[in-house]
């Protein structure tokens, strides 16, 4: 290794109340190196990073983490030579405070919660400089503006007076980076720095991190679950599973030739397209058809005028699409593009204007008419933790649709149907004894999502609205849920309206695609037409991100 060692972690163990989360891991980082720590949620990767700075509360830590980048004398440095070497895990809280921010900085996943909403961003950066570098307030402010400018924020002087809520997500993350880099740390811990950002922003932030990393010569420990990110950014990769590092090596080598089965599983978790291409002809009536669909929210107007009238925020401007039996219409867009509002309008949970036909009917004020549509259109939501009522058993949750739409069924018949529906989504009594009497909290995210799918399929709908069905799941689980959805579509000829921000999911699932941004439909067509030869620059950007 040419570059000098910066961090050497040996036998790091972290446990919470006797339960080990990190189970003895070794890794090292050279100065200026970019190491990616990859793993699914619960693998211990974030805890690893936090424990290096002593930021995990109520945890027992053991092992050694020798760090050579200490810039200034610490108070009770255990080695007398003072060669700026220290065991991070053995430092006192007071010394750790000196190290944090100055020698090792950290950026977090969600910049909105990581920045203090009551102070302007310039203020927050200047505070770091005043505390750590002892600059005067004026100097600190100037330095803060310069740092903001470095991170590519336009009009840095003006922006430095902005409060976090006045900045966009990307700008906030840039401000976070500026704050982290304020003292030119030797090591930057980046915990999922782009996960909360829209796809189009991710590469910008990543490029920025790369550029700054090269400029300052610092090392980066990138914590992520996104393999695309790793491939583009990191030098070396360490794969974590269940508190162990199961494989580490140079990125190119590991990607080309993964050794550990878990690594192979991760690499292999990209969703695979396995759908029936031409299920139906255009001759049959479409399951869903819409012309110039427009959805808006009332918003309050400020001032006196707001007493009498409400403003309007148009979430979907004019969407036209049709969906045939057995096909999937993918709607892709970033947050705020109106794609979830579109789903709510299709479900009749939000009023809309324009023509919208579902199974030949339209939403109206007539309850019996609506009930028929409700049976035909069902939904699976994004967040598996809030989509199942925590106080109902699985049987009650899944069987609810039958109580509404087929009240004539006896308890026993309903029970049979529930068991059948759960079997269809791959959940049986043999795997989970007393499955029907259990409560949602006993299941993992992927299992809950299966239960939500079973609930939706219970009433045998024609159209299933999938609102980001897999974006809260780990990649390997995402693949399994998508495979389940593909199988159900093949077997039952279901139509899907698939809302997502993930091009990979669209590529695997959709027949037709609608690209949305800020309420406008930018582009639509078959999946091949849109993804292989995108016309709109935004679509081109999206596709380039993930190719």
């Amino acid at each position: 290794m040419s570059a000098p060692k910066l961090l050497d972690v040996k036998g790091l163990r972290v446990s919470f109340a006797g339960k080990e989360v990190v189970r003895g891991i070794d890794f090292s980082l050279a100065a200026g190196e970019k190491l990616a720590l990859v793993g699914e949620s619960g693998s211990g990767k974030t805890v690893t990073a936090l424990s290096l700075l002593g930021l995990v509360q109520g945890a027992q830590t053991s092992g050694r983490a020798v760090f050579w980048g200490v810039q200034d004398k610490l108070n009770d440095l255990n080695n007398a030579q003072g060669d700026a070497q220290a065991d991070l895990l053995a430092l006192s809280e007071r010394d750790l405070r000196a190290v944090r921010g100055r020698d090792i900085a950290m950026i977090f996943q969600e910049p909105m919660t990581a920045l203090n909403p009551l102070f302007s961003v310039g203020n927050q950066i200047a505070e770091v400089l005043q505390l750590k570098e002892g600059l005067s307030p004026t100097q600190a402010h100037q330095a803060a503006v310069a740092l903001l400018a470095d991170t590519g924020i336009a009009e840095a002087e003006r922006r430095s007076h902005s409060f976090p809520h006045q900045l966009s997500g990307g700008q906030r993350q840039r401000a976070m980076i500026a704050m982290a880099l304020a003292c030119q740390p030797q090591l930057l811990l980046a915990d999922e720095p782009t996960t909360a950002l829209d796809v189009s922003l991710r590469s910008q932030i990543l490029d920025l991190l790369s550029a700054l990393q090269q400029k300052n010569g610092m090392a980066v420990l990138l914590i992520t679950h996104d393999l695309n990110l790793v491939r583009r950014f990191a030098d070396r990769i360490a794969v974590m599973e269940n508190g162990f590092i199961v494989e580490q090596g140079r990125v190119a080598e590991v990607f080309a030739n993964p050794q550990h089965p878990y690594t192979r599983k991760l690499m292999d978790s990209r969703p695979v397209r396995d759908v029936t291409e031409a299920f139906s002809s255009a001759a049959s009536a479409p399951v869903m058809q819409s012309q110039n669909l427009r959805v808006s929210y009332p918003v309050p107007i400020s001032g006196f005028r707001g007493w009498f009238k409400k403003g309007e925020f148009v979430a979907v401007k004019s969407a036209s699409f049709s969906l045939f039996k057995g096909r999937t219409l993918g709607v892709i867009g970033e947050s705020g593009s109106g794609k979830s509002t579109l789903a709510l309008a299709v479900l009749g949970l939000h009023p809309s204007q324009g023509a919208l036909q579902l199974a030949g009917k339209t939403w109206s004020r007539d309850a019996t008419n609506n009930k028929a549509i409700r049976r035909a259109v069902q939904v699976v939501f994004q967040d598996p933790f809030s989509s199942l009522s925590p106080r109902m058993t699985i049987e009650e949750i899944v069987g609810e649709g039958l109580r509404v739409h087929q009240p004539e069924l006896s308890v026993e018949q309903r029970h049979q149907r529930v068991v059948k529906a759960l079997e269809d989504v791959g959940m049986t009594e043999t795997q989970f004894p007393r499955l029907l009497q259990r409560y949602p909290h006993e299941f993992s995210g992927g299992q809950r999502q299966r239960i939500a799918i079973a609930r939706a399929l219970m009433v045998e709908p024609d159209l299933l609205v999938l609102d980001e069905p897999t974006s809260a799941l780990d990649v390997t689980v995402q693949k399994q849920v998508l495979e389940l959805l593909q199988r159900l579509q093949r077997e039952r000829g279901l139509s899907y309206l698939l809302i997502t921000h993930d091009v990979d999911v669209i590529r695997a699932m959709a027949h037709d695609v609608l690209v949305m941004q800020a309420g406008e439909v930018l582009e639509s067509g078959t999946v091949d037409a849109v993804l292989l030869s995108p016309k709109h620059p935004y679509t081109q950007l999206l596709v380039r991100q993930t190719s």
Partner: protein, 388 residues
Amino acid sequence: MSGWTRVSNLNNPPDAASGRLPPGGAPAADGLSPIRAGTREEGAAVSLSLSPSRRAWQRFRRNRLGFSSLVLFCALVLVSLLAEVVSNDRPLLLKYEGNYYFPIVTVYPEKTFGGDFETATDYLDPFIRNKLSGGSNWVIYAPNPYGPKTLNYFAKEPNPSRPTRANLLGTDDRGRDLLAQLIYGFRVSVLFALALTLTGVVLGVLSGALQGYFGGKVDLAFQRFMEVWGSMPELYLLIIFSAVFAPSIALLLVLLSLFGWLGLSDYVRAEFLRNRQLDYVRAARAMGLSPWQIIIRHVLPNSMTPVVTFLPFRMSAAILALTSLDFLGLGVPPGTPSLGELLSQGKNNIDAWWISLSTFTVLVTTLLLLTFMGDALRDALDPRKADR
């Protein structure tokens, strides 16, 4: 209190063993990472197949102070419900000249037992006592042979009498036994508090549910109404009404109920506002359930946490309210045993320390027990402590 019974009905030992995951119990369907299966298993040892309210109940039971407070409080309430057996001036059973009599249920004229008058027998009269215990006659008195209104005409000391062998806690300024007064007064307080809490919960949940679920204009109108309603001076109304109508417990209950629901309503409303936009409610709407079905089946069970948490605190507030009103003379009709009335007697007879001290002890014990229960319940229902 409805919450209590609901929770305690579920208190049969959880049939967890049969529902436990198989060893190494990774639910295999998703190929979960073992770490997650591990956490789940550990939680499973105590909580598998338990509904959230049952898990909360188990957490509550693990709180020693709270749970023993509940047991003690229930025991006290039980004893006070049997007050007629525990403390009564009419004997439970007696045998007089070969016949059995049940004075506790039937009123016998004094002549029955060889007295001179047609009036109801005073079993504490030494003459009658003699008659009843002579020869083959015997009598079983209640453990504390005084009722709440019994005057001890035969006390050896002037009223209020200090604690003696005859009156264990002494008598009040009219010669009534203090222990009997406390037992009956406690019962009145607890039953009144239960009734007040119940009506408050029903009204509060109803109005909170309507406002929270429907939101918008319903919410706006209801909130303004509540502001107007809440700004009415409760105490003045009570004074005015106690001047206009004959004071009675029912009137007091109605008047206090009119205002007792306001605080709870806000909590329920907030819970409904939060819960109604969660995905499971959206899914239920998409399923085609009617608003009432959604409120009752989905939102309400998930919004009861503040209601249940506040039950003991509301009870103690209600007991305190009744006590203060009685103290001021605005509460229950004269002659009804009441803790507040005793406190006011204690104030008037400051040298009769046994009145104020014993009443104070009963009151403080009751309120403390309720507060301990409330604390334990709050911890048990705290979502942040959910998995300890």
